[in-house]
Subunit: 696 residues, 2 copies
Amino acid sequence: MNRSVVFRLLRQRNHKLNPARAFSSTHAAFRAKAVKVDSTMATLTTKTGQTVDRSSLESLVRRRLFFTPSFEIYGGVSGLYDYGPPGCSLQANIVDLWRKHFVLEEDMLEVDTTMLTPHEVLKTSGHVDKFADWMCKDPKTGEIFRADHLVEEVLESRLKGDKEARGQKVVVDEEKEAKKKKKVKETKVVKLDDAVVAEYEEVLAKIDNYDGDELGQLITKYDIRNPKTDGPLLPPVAFNLMFQTSIGPSSNMPGYLRPETAQGQFLTFQKLLEFNQQQMPFASASIGKSFRNEISPRAGLLRVREFLMAEIEHFVDPEGGKKHPRFEEVKDTELSLLNRDVQLSGSTKTEQMTIGKAVEIGLVDNETLGYFLARIQQFLLKIGIDKSKLRFRQHMANEMAHYAADCWDAELHTSYGWIECVGCADRSAYDLTVHKNKTGAPLVVRETRPEPLRIEEWQVNLDKKKFGPRFKKDSKTVEAAVEALSQELREKLALDLQQNGKIEVDVEGVGNGKVELDKELVAIEKRERVEHIREYTPNVIEPSFGIGRILYSLIEHVYWSRPDDEARGVLSFPPVIAPTKVLLVPLSNHASFRPLLQRLTSKLRRAGISNRVDDSSASIGKRYARNDELGTPLGITVDFQSVKDQTYTLRDRDTTKQVRASEDEILQAVKSLVDGDETWEDIRKRLPEFTGQEAE
Amino acid sequence: MNRSVVFRLLRQRNHKLNPARAFSSTHAAFRAKAVKVDSTMATLTTKTGQTVDRSSLESLVRRRLFFTPSFEIYGGVSGLYDYGPPGCSLQANIVDLWRKHFVLEEDMLEVDTTMLTPHEVLKTSGHVDKFADWMCKDPKTGEIFRADHLVEEVLESRLKGDKEARGQKVVVDEEKEAKKKKKVKETKVVKLDDAVVAEYEEVLAKIDNYDGDELGQLITKYDIRNPKTDGPLLPPVAFNLMFQTSIGPSSNMPGYLRPETAQGQFLTFQKLLEFNQQQMPFASASIGKSFRNEISPRAGLLRVREFLMAEIEHFVDPEGGKKHPRFEEVKDTELSLLNRDVQLSGSTKTEQMTIGKAVEIGLVDNETLGYFLARIQQFLLKIGIDKSKLRFRQHMANEMAHYAADCWDAELHTSYGWIECVGCADRSAYDLTVHKNKTGAPLVVRETRPEPLRIEEWQVNLDKKKFGPRFKKDSKTVEAAVEALSQELREKLALDLQQNGKIEVDVEGVGNGKVELDKELVAIEKRERVEHIREYTPNVIEPSFGIGRILYSLIEHVYWSRPDDEARGVLSFPPVIAPTKVLLVPLSNHASFRPLLQRLTSKLRRAGISNRVDDSSASIGKRYARNDELGTPLGITVDFQSVKDQTYTLRDRDTTKQVRASEDEILQAVKSLVDGDETWEDIRKRLPEFTGQEAE
């Protein structure tokens, strides 16, 4: 049983023991969309069986300008990254495919709402009060620490020192250690009491659940200080993770940069329902930047302050089991599921199961949730995610917001552990309800019942003429109290009235709190009421995608290096999302190649296939190696033979094999490969292989 | 000569008279990208010759959810808009076409840099100090006015009152007046002295050029008060238009939301140059949101606080006349040019001219600028902009930043007047230079000269051994003074040295400010220096697109209403950017239509053609009318005949004509129309017309 599972288990136990956790569990749920870096360490291997060497990969990503830290020439700002040309194109291709796969395929209503959001909206949604982390300040140095991270680091370091003192082998993640050393002083080799070890282990297990006061108590109790200077720290204070600003020239309209795109969609619900001609269910979708002012961002693209999200809000009738009309199409999709009970039992063993079965046995709450899980997997596989490094993990009860029915995360396995990249939650009617209550806007569906609803109920009739003179100024209060009587009570009172000719009703603030009403004033009868319109607040199923995290994980999944030369990295993006589809390589800078290159490039462009010419003076081999790192799947070489007979060689990035054929055949093959109609194997079978130059 | 031209003329004169304007002209240039609503009133007509009725159009745009004010259920926030499904799709299609037309066509290096920007970067760029407007506060009511707008409104209102008092006819823009009335009290009919009228006219003419002090003096001099309450106002203070926030948990890193995407591109220059294998020229590009905290946003999408920009930074060698390798391809493109001299002469008459000629005669400064003007026009026409409502206006000298060489705006004619939608400026080496000077980062190009440069120059040699003992602590100062001598002075001193055996050099702070050096200490000779590397800071040509403004103007350009029924609006978007390409309309809800609809929709989707089914119970005519307003160019009707023989009718939005043919023929026609290979006229000629139902 690995450690994180023990933690989770303890956490769960703790949650059950202490119902007061309900609040911090909501709090945790607010953060859930942000970050869930499962620290499970496991050696990650490439598809060729090599160990993923993160530092080589990071160097490639930087060298080829996929993304780099922002504002580097000004010293940088942590948690902010810029995408260079290949990263930007990769991101655009992922977004484009996302839009086709979800929005167009299902006629979703895409909206683009503003990032600037006034205070009141996020106050209502709960973000102003709950979207926060706890931080501690060193009053002397001014340094700021995220309280839970600090406690975690210090106690882990002490436990490590204890293990060393006991002469136990300490498994070390070297890179992590190297980073830590910059922050934390050398681990002290000090043996701890067994009881202290147990206490520390328990604290670490519960670390996600402490509130500020509790973290402060831990810091005092265990004398936790600034690890670098040993200086004492101030007690933890809440730090809201939203970037605050002020809208307009007067300072009376505080606002924030949105922490998620969801709120903008909820506020537009009414207009969207009308646009959809009042038809339910429907989904809205939004692709855009969101912002979180992390206290101490780390782990590269996985925890950043400004990031691209793609979110779907699928609005569904809460009655009728949340069926989905297209569930049939996906029901045989096999998913790798890590369910709540398995986690509780202390295991992380996933189970292969069709989504049809998972919904049937109630493991996944409903068809709509299940439908999206399957669609999420289809999308991730399409862009090139390695299926063996994808799992769906069900949230534990205490991870979810109190209102959520069920929640699954699509997690991707990377060198940082299992990373939450897509969350798929049932947000119930929570958001629409709070905004409706706050503003009075009818964020509801009103539909004519196919059959009017006939309701048998106890109705109370007051004789208003006699009522007023009798109760005078208290009339309204008494009337309201009577109207508020439950059906149950009405039934009982009807009997009283029949038997005694009078009833007694509790009315706060009138007389002694009890009021007597006789037959003259009141009648209670069972009658039928007919309801023609049904009004309800839809529930929301929300698949929420962190595009940056998916992009980073994808790069790790498609990365490998040539077995014959480890320095030569390759990114095997599927053609559909590769930043550039085709590299055009003239043998040299010779003028006779230019018209051919121009014709090829313009023909490819007209076919909508992105391509680049590399006519630098480097050898053909070097130029291809560079583009293997950029993930360009295809290469066309233009040589002197091409000038003579308009034949070209076409090279496959992954196998480095080449074929040679006429211009038309080559272009047709490129199109067919990019569209996914044929594989390289198909092409190799039908076009003659070429085994000439790829001079290194 | 219309009034705005008089104003411009006066402004220009003012600028020439008063060189102190240079600063406010920089200031104005900083704002130039933001807003330039030319108030020239002119009746705008649709392509069918109808007057554009803005209120009908606004109602359509709102009804069909192209865009609506954000946070409406919370009372709204001015200057913020949400795009609904058709607006969002229109925006995505415009951006997609932009990317193809510019980025892919020219191998530009697209980047995606962060919106959050630390203080120091925007301090260096000049935005912290200069990107501001002047505002006045009413201390009693707390209301805030943009100072220049307030002076303008009040003086214009007084001039109007004067005209009425003189019995002159006042031309009234009713809508503008209606809006004003809400803010300004009833115009007082008061006759003014002729001298006062002249003074007011002059002030209005110069209104863009006053700084805060001057605006304050005007407010005092003319006793300008809060128009609603007549209360006095505080003096104007500068209000920076950037949204401020704080990055990270400590408050020591102030930051802003970027006001333009350009800075992020400049900061990445060095990495991009390396990515481009040191080859010049090249362009970077970026599509993303920018932010401006307008004091009082108005004019709908034309002046907003959060907006989508698409910017290109084309880096070019300042030497060699800024030629462009592809200028030849565009040189015959005819543009409608409104040049600086024509504006100076008091006219707004545009001239049709090929860009080749404009560059040749020096009207447009260089080929690169000219190339982009032509490409901008091609882009705007592709998305459906009416060529007769497009002009390129050259900036007046005082509109440009002090460093700019030339600047042209693509302006679109709308019901708000001529609107600047694309700016195309030569920013020279300004931005790269200031960031280089601030950070020391080598934002330069270093290239090996094809031929080494041999420079004859006067070199000074000091005998360091004797120099030190002689000047002791002053050695460094004297040495620096000698090194700093100009070539001219060196030549003169060489002669002195030869003639007198000694020279006298000015050295501030040493002795009496003059130092004598003899032949023992110094030698000055003419020698040759050989320079192998050339280092230069590239100039930047910047086409900058306001996507929201283009989108709004486009909607006005393609809007018209059916002559036989003015209530039926039509948006004639070209198929390539229409939000939805095809509407599928079953005759009724009959079950037999469903399989046909499913087959059509999935075939269209596979061909990448967006489509929607409208199976609501409204009549076919009503359903088509709704989609005419959404700008859907094509409609396919599925009727009982379709069930029998798989033939369908295809309807053209603009003519409402229909043809009927087999499924394959219809789908092929749709593809051909959407791809722009055929026009509706072509289709009508080859497929049989259908004149059956379009029941209203």
